[in-house]
Symmetry: C2
Subunit: 123 residues, 2 copies
Amino acid sequence: MRIGELSRRTGVPTRLLRYYEEQDLLHPERADNGYRSYPESAVADVQQIRGLLDSGLTTEMIRAIMPYLSGPGVLHPPAECVTPQTAALLQGHIERIQSRIDCLSRNRDRLSAYLAAVRPDPR
Amino acid sequence: MRIGELSRRTGVPTRLLRYYEEQDLLHPERADNGYRSYPESAVADVQQIRGLLDSGLTTEMIRAIMPYLSGPGVLHPPAECVTPQTAALLQGHIERIQSRIDCLSRNRDRLSAYLAAVRPDPR
DNA sequence: TCGGAGCCTGACATCAGTGTGAAGGTCAAG
DNA sequence: CTTGACCTTCACACTGATGTCAGGCTCCGA
């Protein structure tokens, strides 16, 4: 599919789809005329990228973890390719993500508690 | 305490402490000589702000939720001041935070699963 | 064959969060 | 009284994510 359709189907401006490619997050083929050609799976990829960006990750972090994120069953780098260094990096990313989750959860709880205290009976 | 000490105790550059004030996240008093004067609680406030910024929230969101975030027992806007509109806004913020948590959790799980699959026995 | 829609690249603009430096005021210790 | 550490404001610059526009190519339908 071409960039316009991908944009319509994901709601992401073409400008950003090109930017994500420049950032090495998307890798469309090129047709003979130079047009980008995206596989069907790009729709899910773009939604994944958007979710992570909206969650505050940088394109750099996303680039680092994307290869390991596609749904189960899709091809990931196999065990042989995963050096201890890579594993350590991944582990570090997991921990950073976890601390974000912790911070957000803590504050969500506080907000919820406040709201519950202040309007105990929202009819 | 003055800005330098607050900076040392939080590890946050003075530049950013001034920026956070400009963004209405901190509200130090001023001494007669014009120096900023922070209460002890500012240390916790700054750490709170940093955590939320690192978790991807904008100063705008932080400004919106900060008044309701300080630990239990500290003064919050009381129930009488909370209009239904305010409550709805807060509820919206909670939901946005929750969707971030969901996205991050989902992907943390995927990364962990991948890592576990690839190095099942990390001696 | 022409017009318009869609694609290309490239450039400049914006916003938030930071870094850095200049020019000058305050204050305590020597 | 001077020096040095600390404070003030102001300003310019950078990065990452994004908006927007210009100039030009491709292709399809009237």
